[in-house]
Symmetry: C2
Subunit: 438 residues, 2 copies
């Protein structure tokens, strides 16, 4: 039996189920424990949840060396598996990243309690007093890929919102996630909350994911976080409602009335600050009125920063060094130092392009013309629409949510950044004095 | 070609597609028209939508005889098909029911506009101004069974909330629904809104339902309204998010501190006012402290009203005329004049029974003990929890929503009664002045 890196806790030892039947039994037991824990967590006080989160942050710091040792073990196993450098970088923890994990937990602790808020209240003519109040969702199943910090963020957000969580991290980050879940368990114990509120699936067997997607008796919502193939698999197979986080084909439109200095700074940041996040701009739209004046400066900035440019015919007439864009480019999330560029006819042309080719995630306009800005805000059909700001602000932390579990691209709520508040639902409390329906 | 009963409109003539390929083309065309109409409707003013709804109500009244003639045709065809009396009653319209349809449309018209509300707004330290505003969902596909009034309610709610609707009514109510959709088309035309905003699938071919469930390019949300088998089929097959409206296994708990008069009136109403609606009480829970005092009076009232009683051993010890309840009874939605009855130990016992056996729909406590009432409100995990009122108030109209498209039993929003406000989602508007992300 592998002792747990921090506490030697038996609950979290890695399992290697000897049969499918074993695995099913194991997953059912996890589900039952989660359901019970969720009922208790839903009634927990704001103070208990806050103190559990603070104690978890402290445990992450106090056990930093054990967590880093667990991470080193993951990295050592990954060395044998020829992991891509980008994936290896996502997997790696260091003292600074652990500091950030602890700070993230502190930030979640400091948020207002999202449960028990009165969202609306009204009185009916017959005297019935109707109130809509926020309540937890129940049990959330979170399926994610390599980044171990998701373990702490997702676990912390679930706890804050009074939900139990079943975490299924990437198999590459198994030991790191286990060490972080142990810190969460310590936090829960400190606050006398049930440890089963946050459980890590204790096996790397990929069949566990398929089983989770069918556990509609025990899991209320599934949140997949990872690449497109993971999310599509989950959407296809899940018998449980999914909060999906699909691709971000984000646009920045530079209007004829843009301030040139703002436009240059914002476009460069929106594309190049980090090219691999869902809020990175993938298509630049330029108003025909400034195509020969401001556009060349913007393209030069991008080139200097190492960005490949692919443009439509109009762009290439002005700048023949731009590569030709194919139709496919307008619907591609590069997640790389590549940008497609099109010239459009004003704000109307930009809105038409975005609503047709975009993924309804995050889009921005750069303009000093207030009417154009308000029209763009109103007519662009995306979860996040910005004026004079970088699309890279599409992030729960940047929105002030402490952390996020992802950016939902579905239309039904929750849409956009999913923080603790978005992991709640509501119920109606109706207070009467003997009313019967006529 | 069958002329339309009101206007002779060609758009709505019944189609009998000659092949599957024909039907697919037809449904695709409906989807494309709906998508375009949704984009226009999302930007329509509150005034335009209100005037369309008022004009629809007027058209329903002005064309009452044509609508009743269409309904007579449905009923005549149903005569050949040996419809159950309850279904026939649901299908039938009369002048009074048409009055109610028009009044429902007027009530929806009078509601505040649910689109464009500022739901939250805050400023970030970097000066970003973040606002969450309500927006329509897009295109809603509504699949329902025989009741033709759903055509008007669902169409009216979709219009109010700025959504386009594709309606697929029961084949038994085809002519009635067509006549009502024609009234809606007249309302839309009066307000210069696109008629394609509300389309009825113009064929009774059942394959159309399957096609709708796969049209994720054109339909954003599916709302099934009908029996369990319809809803389960939709949940299983749909590639589009579903707002489901499953069974209501509703409880009324009579606490030891109940006012006897209120308890008797409320229980009788909760069970017997209408036994076939989802908010009808199916299980009565009685506090052990009043099992020999108040319970016999309540059971006598129910018996007098023609209700069959099935009880647990404790109930049958007190009243041997009560039939024995099997385990299955605690999870059965009778939708009939049958009630299961159990004795529980106080509010804690009632909460335990409800959370274990119920369907998280609607549950009530009858008590004068405020602490017991507040505990019940907090701990019962249902969409609607009532104190001293009949579970039959589980209805959008009774909640003041004008009308409802159903009671959602899912946990993610929308939960509970789904009116116009619940058919919206939100987006974030972010206003900056050149911010870039560090």
């Amino acid at each position: 039996m592998t002792p747990n890196p921090i506490t030697g806790e038996v609950l979290l030892r890695e399992r290697t189920p000897s049969s499918q039947a074993d695995l099913i039994r194991e997953m059912q037991a996890i589900g039952q424990r989660a359901r019970k824990a969720a009922a208790m967590l839903a009634l927990a006080s704001a103070e208990a949840k806050t103190s559990a989160l603070r104690a978890t942050a402290a445990a992450v710091q106090a056990n930093a060396s054990a967590i880093l040792a667990a991470n080193a073990r993951d990295l050592a196993e990954a060395d044998g598996e020829d992991l891509a450098p980008a994936l290896r970088d996502r997997l790696a923890l260091d003292p600074k990243r652990l500091e950030a994990v602890a700070a993230g937990l502190e930030a979640i602790a400091a948020l207002p309690d999202p449960v028990g808020r009165s969202l609306a209240r009204w009185m009916r003519p017959n005297g019935l007093d109707i109130e809509r109040v926020s309540v937890p969702l129940g049990v959330i199943g979170i399926i994610y890929e390599s980044r171990p910090n998701v373990t702490a963020d997702a676990g912390g957000l679930a706890l804050k919102s009074g939900n139990a969580a079943i975490l299924r991290g990437g198999s590459e980050s198994f030991y790191s996630s286990r060490a972080l879940v142990t810190a969460l368990a310590e936090g829960l114990r400190t606050a006398s909350l049930p440890q089963a509120a946050i459980q890590l699936v204790p096996t790397r067997d990929r069949a566990a994911v398929g089983l989770m997607l069918g556990m509609n008796e025990y899991i209320d919502v599934i949140v997949p976080r990872g690449g497109r193939s993971l999310i599509e698999r989950v959407q296809r197979e899940s018998r449980i409602p999914v909060i999906a986080h699909l691709e971000g084909i984000c646009h920045t439109y530079v209007d004829g009335a843009a301030d040139p200095k703002k436009a240059r700074a914002v476009v460069l940041n929106a594309k190049m600050r980090r090219v691999s996040i869902c809020g990175a701009t993938e298509t630049l739209l330029v108003d025909r009125n400034i195509a020969t004046t401001l556009m060349p400066q913007i393209l030069a900035d991008l080139r200097t920063a190492g960005c490949e440019l692919r443009g439509d015919a109009a762009v290439r007439t002005i700048d023949p060094a731009v590569l030709p864009a194919a139709e496919e480019d307008w619907r591609t999330e590069y997640l790389d130092a590549i940008l497609s560029v099109a010239i459009v006819d004003g704000v109307e042309g930009a809105i038409g392009h975005i609503n047709h080719w975009g993924s309804h995630h995050t889009d921005a306009i750069i303009t000093e013309d207030e009417a154009a800005a308000e029209r763009f805000l109103r007519e662009v059909d995306s979860a996040i629409v910005l004026v004079n700001a970088s699309t890279q602000f599409a992030d729960g932390g940047e929105f002030g949510m402490g952390a996020e579990i992802g950016i939902s691209t579905q239309r039904l709520p929750p849409r956009g950044p999913v923080g603790a508040e978005q992991l709640t639902t509501y119920k109606y409390l109706v207070r009467g004095n003997g009313q019967v329906r006529p």
